[in-house]
């Protein structure tokens, strides 16, 4: 039985607070944690499959043109080689998040350097790898593909454009104004588990173990790519070794494995090499961003401008949504916002953790610091003065707004020193020491979701959905929600995820996973409670359940009368999405030291205070926050994709050359969870936290660099050479 709940109004009953089990929000360790720490959790490439052949992708070594011939014979005589697949159904790009249709196919047409063009299948990985290197390919090159975003006429993304009032006039009238241009380099998700798939056919039924974030969309994408019916496909992703956007849509190896397994008549595994993951999956676009801030003498904004240029391949609809939170972050009645996309032939640009705010907020919050310094106003105070009462563009109310609390509680916990705002106040030997801060914002997304909950006669519960846990804590929070609603210790709740045989979840992406699937589980549990209440002659809102019993001592197992009780919860956001502007908010504080002679920056300590609705598990929520803050350190100081100007290929395509933060780059991190209930966000009053932790954090570091040594930089990442170039004597 399915129970559908479409949310048109806020749900402020906060029912979960009235439940008696008392487990929701508690910092429970992850229920799948023991499997992970003992190496017994199996990821996509690790399922034991009999007689599995190995496939290795071959990628293009031209930027644009056509594959004119693939000489199969060049490798078919090599030991162990079984087949060369160059089917026109092979995907040449990964699908964008929520695409719900096949990504670009047709490997004979090359659109970027590194694009997959074929798959070599052999008995062993070593044989397939060797053969893939030896495959002779001929091309017809098309010269002159544009590669530099600044050299093409960009396309305006019209839905992003805002012209409100007269910004030029406001800038001229302003007591204090800032007009600065920031740049950010491209980023890679660099999830630790490379993209992998094992495909197996049984007649016309296909099973694929894959590493994917959104099976609910991926099954449709795969069906479309292979021209199949969804009911003949089963996708399984029980453990996903990180996604960060790179596994939102199906990627090239999934389709390649399926096609190859069909052709060779046995299972095939395809694992992308680390270099292939870098070069063929998704990059975050580089950005150029002009920020204009016009303030009156009190620092209150009267004008706000944010214009950005990003890039992508021809044929891609995704444009890094740089302005996403700028639309509502601060007031200012005169506004100019515009997003432009340059069509160039670098690899596909798509979602990387916190698309938009991950780079938009560091630019905006850097500019706010410039304004604070110009106006002589404490940066925390400047932000407090500019929190809008309602959305400054469409006039909608905020569903909730915790920025002020985050700024205040964060400043207090960090020991923010208002009087230390002049640069170069502290020096130890070669090192300048300083502090900086920034606001955080990440739009709240919510999605349709389904989950089945079964209360079992043995006194346990089962939660089933195709939702994934990509390290976010889904397994654990769903056990907590079901445990809370049904009066069970979460240990007695079995959660089965990542299998398209289960009801469709929302997928993990855009930080909407927990609130969306949590709401589906909530709806299902509420329906089960209603049935139980009827059985004991009371109403659901009076039903008290804990430790498997009602308040009057009846056990759940007795109430079941020997039969499992199952309900499918179907949550759907309705008008609620149009009636409010909803976002998570927060504040970052950082202390850095900057070497006067080398320009090296070290983060000494960092704190984030975040308000994102109900906290479902204080331990896993905090972990999401520290993960985000760690990414902020990478954005600020080290992460930068570099492209060859001659052929557009990604040069630093591995973990030695693309510098993600390592242990020694990351100090102890502090997190302040600013609890709130946001009934307009979801029926469980929760919002997302997977991305908020990196939406602005890089600016806290940039602003701390300025405070420490007086070097004001406008280009991320702030590598030693860049810091030295503007270091005052």
């Amino acid at each position: 039985m399915t129970v559908h709940f479409k949310q048109d109004e806020p749900v402020n009953s906060n029912r979960l607070d009235g439940m008696k089990q008392g487990v929701l929000g508690k910092p429970l360790p992850r229920i799948e944690g023991l499997a992970k720490v003992t190496g017994t959790a199996s990821y996509a490439a690790e399922f034991p499959v009999e007689n599995c052949a190995e496939g290795v992708l071959v990628t293009a070594t031209i930027t644009r043109g056509e594959v004119t011939s693939i000489d199969r014979e060049s490798v078919l005589s090599m030991p162990g080689v079984i087949a060369v697949i160059d089917d026109e159904k092979l995907c040449t790009r990964a699908a964008q998040g929520t695409a719900n249709e096949a990504p670009m196919q047709g490997p004979s047409q090359v659109c970027y350097w590194g694009q997959p063009i074929a798959l070599v299948v052999a008995e062993t990985f070593e044989q397939a790898r060797d053969a893939a290197k030896h495959l002779a390919v001929e091309y017809r090159k098309e010269e002159g593909a544009p590669l530099d975003p600044s050299e093409v006429e960009p396309e305006e993304q019209e839905d992003e454009t805002v012209h409100q009032g007269d910004l030029a006039h406001a800038m001229a009238d302003a007591a204090h104004s800032v007009d600065v241009t920031y740049t950010t380099k491209g980023h890679a998700s660099a999830a630790m588990e490379p993209h992998a798939a094992i495909a197996q056919w049984d007649g016309d039924k296909l099973t694929v173990h894959a590493s994917l974030q959104m099976l609910n969309y991926n099954i449709t994408e795969l069906a479309d790519a292979l021209d199949m019916k969804e009911e003949n496909i089963r996708l399984i992703s029980r453990f996903v070794g990180g996604g960060f956007g790179s596994k939102l849509g199906i990627s090239e190896e999934v389709v390649a494995a399926a096609l190859a397994a069909k052709e060779v008549g046995r299972p095939v595994r395809v694992v992308q090499s680390r270099q292939q993951v870098f070069q063929t999956v998704m990059r975050r676009s580089e950005t150029t961003q002009r920020l204009r801030l016009a303030a009156d003498s009190d620092g209150k904004l009267i004008g706000f401008g944010h214009e950005a240029l990003v890039s992508n391949l021809p044929g891609e609809t995704f444009a890094e949504p740089v302005l996403q939170s700028s639309h509502f972050m601060y007031g200012g009645e005169n506004r100019e916002l515009m997003l432009n996309v340059a069509r160039i032939h670098r690899m596909t640009a798509g979602s990387v953790r916190a698309p938009g705010e991950a780079v938009g907020m560091p630019a905006l919050e850097g500019a706010m610091d410039v304004l604070a310094a110009k106006a002589g106003i404490d940066p925390v105070e400047l932000r407090l003065r500019n929190i809008p009462e309602k959305d400054p563009e469409d006039g909608l109310p905020f569903s909730s707004h915790k920025l002020a609390e985050c700024l205040k509680q964060g400043a207090e916990a960090f020991g923010w020193d208002k009087d230390q705002r002049k640069p170069r106040q502290r020096r130890e030997g070669e090192w300048w020491i300083g502090t900086g801060m920034a606001s955080a914002a990440r739009v709240h997304n919510i999605s349709e979701a389904k989950a089945r909950v079964t209360l079992k006669t043995d006194g346990t519960a089962l939660v089933e959905t195709d939702m994934t846990d990509i390290g976010t804590g889904t397994y654990t929070i769903l056990a907590q929600i079901a445990g809370e609603m049904l009066g069970l210790d979460p240990k007695r709740v079995l959660v089965e995820l990542g299998d398209t045989r289960h009801p469709r979840g929302p997928g993990s992406g855009g930080s909407w996973g927990a609130a969306s699937i949590g709401s589906a589980v909530y709806v299902a549990c509420k329906a089960i409670r209603e049935e139980l209440a009827t059985r004991i002659g009371t109403s659901e809102d009076k039903l008290e359940l804990s430790e498997g019993k009602t308040a009057t001592g009846e056990s759940l197992t007795d109430l079941l009368e020997g039969k499992d009780l199952a309900r499918e919860g179907h949550y759907e956001p309705g008008d609620i999405e149009d009636d409010y502007t909803a976002s998570g908010f927060g504040a970052f504080f950082a202390e850095v030291r900057v070497n006067h002679y080398t320009g090296e920056t070290r983060v000494e300590r960092m704190l984030g205070a975040f308000g994102f609705g109900r906290v479902l598990n204080a331990k896993t929520a905090r972990s999401q926050c520290i993960g985000g803050i760690t990414w902020s350190i990478g954005v600020a100081l080290t992460e930068a994709l570099e492209f060859d100007p001659r052929d557009g290929h990604l040069v630093n395509c591995d973990l030695a050359e693309y510098h993600v933060p390592v242990h020694r780059d990351v100090p102890d991190l502090d997190v302040v969870l600013v609890e709130e209930r946001d009934g307009a966000a979801s029926p469980i009053q929760a919002k997302g936290i997977g991305e908020l932790g990196m939406c602005g954090g890089a600016a806290a570091i940039a602003n701390a660099i300025y405070n420490a040594c007086g070097a004001r930089l406008y280009d991320y990442p702030m590598t030693p050479d860049r810091v030295l170039a503007v270091m005052p004597d």
């Binding site: 944690g33 003992t38 190496g39 390592v662």
Partner: protein, 169 residues
């Protein structure tokens, strides 16, 4: 006599193909998939195992080179029923998220604590000679070859510090 590698106290013949890395041998040939492949190039530490008591990146060495060696993988350190102290501490401190770097972090940390106990100095050590004190900086420096893209570093260090404190007091 055929060459053998001992893994978690069981002996296995080395593979015929000399190109097989120790990592692929563990994962593909003997089914010990707890050891992870993150880069295959010695850049991430996900494949860290302990060979004759010393931690190495198993992707950077060929299985055929390990005749007579004794390898300990994550499966050999503890099991879901009997996890090691570090495995328990990682669980309690949430020293992981997706879990993919985790076996490498735990194998690395297990051997790393032995290196400190044996007074091997690091870049973070005050002196090259004499006793090495355990500190957050020592742990961070020595664990920097184990990347965690989920960004669980702060929790990983907390987990290791707890075990280190218990172990040395």
């Amino acid at each position: 006599m055929a060459d053998t590698i001992t893994v978690n106290e069981t002996a296995y013949p080395t593979p015929d193909d000399p190109r097989v890395s120790l990592l692929d041998f563990l994962r593909q040939h003997i089914g010990l998939t707890g050891t992870k492949k993150g880069c295959d190039h010695g850049q991430c530490g996900a494949c860290t195992v302990i060979v004759n008591g010393v931690r190495i990146n198993s992707c950077l060495t060929l299985a055929a080179m390990h005749d007579g060696d004794s390898v300990t993988t994550i499966e050999g350190l503890g099991t879901p029923d009997e996890p090691s102290a570090l495995q328990r501490a990682f669980l309690e401190h949430d020293g992981f998220q997706c879990g993919y770097c985790t076996p490498g972090q735990i194998c690395s940390a297990t051997a790393m604590l032995e290196e400190i106990a044996a007074d091997w100095p690091s870049d973070a050590s005050e002196n090259l000679e004499g006793r090495i004190a355990i500190s957050g900086e020592e742990i961070r420096e020595r664990m920097s070859g184990n990347l965690c893209r989920c960004g669980a570093y702060a929790n990983i260090v907390a987990a290791i510090e707890e075990v280190a404190a218990g172990g040395r007091s």
